[in-house]
């Protein structure tokens, strides 16, 4: 059996994540208002929106890093806040925007930390853990870096190591907060290809916050556009991305053309300069 072959039995029983009338905020500042959403299983969902629209806050709320002021997050129909946090960690992984690593930690050691929720008082490290860590390293293309220190790696390699750590957690559901920020374009594409592989070949459910609208349109099976803490539109990019939506969500006048490579919508901004054709 190879890892990449989709095997719903060993791998990932579908984990259903949804939010019901969710309100999120920090102290007096309300950020997400009355938001309900269903994350489709086995799909790559991307959340987009302008800065400070609440997309990262929503992700933190879904990942139970932020307790809601009202409403609930449901994992397989049960309130995530009432489940033991260790049980949640066996089903849902999260990669924060700027993860922190202990100084001079080795790659294999860091990825091994992803096994945390599967270990405990009496459950020691086993050969299985080694195998799973090895798989996560190979899958993210850093199999030969296991013995290297994390601080020696390039940004792209480091990001793949962090994704490997989240993969070693072996969860059906994986949330990522801007996994492509700080990466150059080649590494952005590489990371998004990897996440797509994880949904297609392993049946994982992925939710990522992304900054780049065009990459989001290309890679998302399901796109969620947010503005002012609310969902403005949700669905396949081909169905929902229109000039009107871009205007509403980003305040940007743009034309939508078809991406010649992927046949998905591509957003071409109309600025004040360098516009060779008349705006429609």
């Amino acid at each position: 059996m190879t890892l990449l072959a989709f095997n719903p039995e060993t791998a990932r029983t579908p984990t259903h994540l949804s939010a019901d009338k969710l309100h999120l905020g920090y102290r007096d500042r309300k950020i997400v208002h009355d938001l309900s959403v269903n994350i489709p299983p086995h799909r790559f969902t991307v959340i987009v929106g302008a800065n400070a629209c609440g997309k990262s806050t929503l992700l933190r709320g879904l990942a139970r890093l932020l307790a809601p002021t009202e409403g609930t997050v449901l994992l397989d129909g049960k309130s995530i806040h009432q489940m033991p946090t260790g049980d949640v960690a066996q089903r849902m992984g999260l990669l924060p925007q700027t993860p922190v690593a202990p100084q001079s930690i080795l790659v294999a050691d860091l990825v091994g930390r992803g096994r945390y929720p599967h270990q405990g008082w009496f459950r020691r490290w086993t050969r299985d853990d080694d195998r799973i860590v090895g798989e996560a390293l190979t899958l993210t293309g850093v199999g030969d870096l296991g013995g290297r220190a994390l601080d020696e790696l390039s940004g792209g390699q480091r990001q793949r190591v962090w994704i490997a750590m989240a993969l070693a957690q072996e969860t059906g559901l994986l949330l990522l907060d801007e996994p492509t920020t700080f990466l150059d374009i080649a590494h952005q594409v590489e990371v998004l290809d990897l996440l797509t592989d994880l949904t297609r070949h392993q049946g994982r459910t992925i939710v990522a916050v992304l900054h780049d609208l065009n990459l989001a349109c290309r890679y998302a099976d399901n796109l969620i556009a947010m503005k002012d803490g609310r969902i403005v539109a949700e669905g396949a990019p081909r169905e929902i991305v229109t000039p009107d939506l871009v205007e509403r969500v980003f305040g940007l006048t743009a034309r939508i053309v078809t991406d010649p490579v992927s046949d998905t919508p591509m957003v071409v901004p109309l600025g004040r300069h360098h516009v060779a054709i008349a705006a429609e």
Binding site: T2, L3, L4, A5, Y26, R27, R60, A63, R64, L65, T85, G86, D87, V88, A89, Q90, M92, G93, L94, L95, P96, P99, V100, A101, P102, Q103, S104, I105, L106, A108, D109, G112, R113, G114, Y116, P117, Q119, G120, W121, W125, R127, D130, R131, I132, V133, G134, E135, L137, T138, L139, G141, G143, D144, G146, G147, A149, E190, D193, L194, D197
Partner: protein, 357 residues
């Protein structure tokens, strides 16, 4: 390397992972073993060295005398009454300071955030100074005041840093602020004191192992062992906290609770040791970073830091007693001197690498 592996070329590298993991574990064991040997050597030196010459066999006979009943006049007093309690208190206090330092540095993810930098030790000291000068306390009451002062200061810092949970950064900033307030209070108390009282207070503040007694050693030793045992179930959570609050929560660690318990154990260890010996400067700051330097990429610095703390304290006390021939210094003077240099070196390297956390 940058391409995704195709299904047919997938290879199991679990054995490589195991190899790396085992190498890390081996290095950690070597460090722990080496530190234990060093500690044993220092302990032996502490028993042998002194104005009154005692040989190793005499020391062994003396140590075993409670079981064998063989008494050696004079030697028994030197060994069992003076040197053994002093060395044992040094080890117990060193372990306590080392542990409290590494717990704070780990949990607050800041190599400078040891209890002597962020106000806990100063809290103990202020209470002790007040006890000496205002209340004219001594002995056990003085120790209790130092203990309560440390715990109360830590509680105050924790409450003031609370804001929908406690962020490590706020704990450090609030701690430094509280430390400054405590220092001011201590200065005020000094201005109201008579010279004799000031002398007594300053002696206590320097941190000293002079006059260590067997009952101190037994009491502090027992406390350190109990708190050390509490750390065994908590060390797993300490490993998760190293990865930052978000990742630790995502991995299923109960971050707020783990942080409270780990800091609680650290504060208690620091305050208990301070109550017995006074604040022995900078041991809690140095132990963790020295242990990490030895460990390199291997994690799990708690046990190595405890051993390092004990070795530093014992070694500093040997220097304080014997380096300057006739003049005997309090141990805190030596650790203070070494620690100040160490702190400067840490600030310089932290600056150079541009690390903020």
């Amino acid at each position: 390397m940058n391409t995704m592996p195709q299904p047919h070329e997938f290879i199991d590298i679990g054995a490589d992972v195991a190899g790396i993991r085992e190498a890390l574990a081996r290095r950690r064991l070597v460090v722990i073993g080496g530190l234990a040997l060093l500690l044993a050597a220092l302990f032996t030196a502490a028993m042998v060295m002194g104005d009154y010459p005692v040989t190793l066999p005499e020391i062994l006979t003396s140590l075993l005398s409670p079981f064998t009943g063989t008494t050696q006049k004079g030697i028994d007093f030197i060994v069992l009454g003076v040197r053994l309690p002093r060395a044992l208190v040094a080890v117990a206090a060193g372990v306590a300071f080392g542990l409290s330092g590494v717990l704070f540095q780990d949990v607050l993810r800041n190599p400078l955030a040891s209890p002597d930098i962020i106000g806990i030790t100063i809290g103990s000291a202020t209470a002790a100074v007040a006890a000496i000068i205002v209340l004219h306390w001594g002995g056990g009451w003085l120790a209790s005041a130092a203990l309560v002062g440390g715990l109360a200061t830590a509680g105050l810092i924790y409450l003031l840093a609370w804001q929908q949970g406690v962020s490590p950064y706020r704990v450090v900033l609030v701690g430094i602020g509280i430390g400054a307030v405590m220092t001011a209070m201590m200065s005020y108390i000094f201005t109201r004191a008579r010279l004799v009282e000031v002398q007594e207070a300053v002696t206590w503040l320097t941190g000293s192992l002079n006059g260590s007694q067997m009952k101190d050693a037994v009491q502090l030793g027992a406390e350190v062992i109990v708190l050390g045992l509490l750390l065994i179930p908590l060390s797993r959570a300490a490993g998760a906290l190293e990865l930052g609050d978000d990742t630790a929560r995502a991995l299923g660690s109960r971050v707020e609770r783990a942080r409270f318990l780990l800091l609680g154990v650290g504060v208690t260890l620091c305050a208990l040791a301070t109550a017995v010996t006074g604040p022995i400067a900078f041991v809690s700051l140095m132990a963790g970073p020295i242990a990490r330097l030895l460990l390199g990429p291997s994690g799990g610095a708690i046990v190595p830091a405890a051993l390092t703390g004990a070795a530093v304290t014992l070694c500093a006390d040997l220097i304080a007693q014997h380096l300057f021939f006739s003049v005997q210094l309090p141990v805190g003077v030596v650790t203070g001197g070494i620690g100040a240099l160490f702190l400067i070196a840490m600030l310089i390297t932290a600056n150079r690498t541009g690390r903020t956390s």
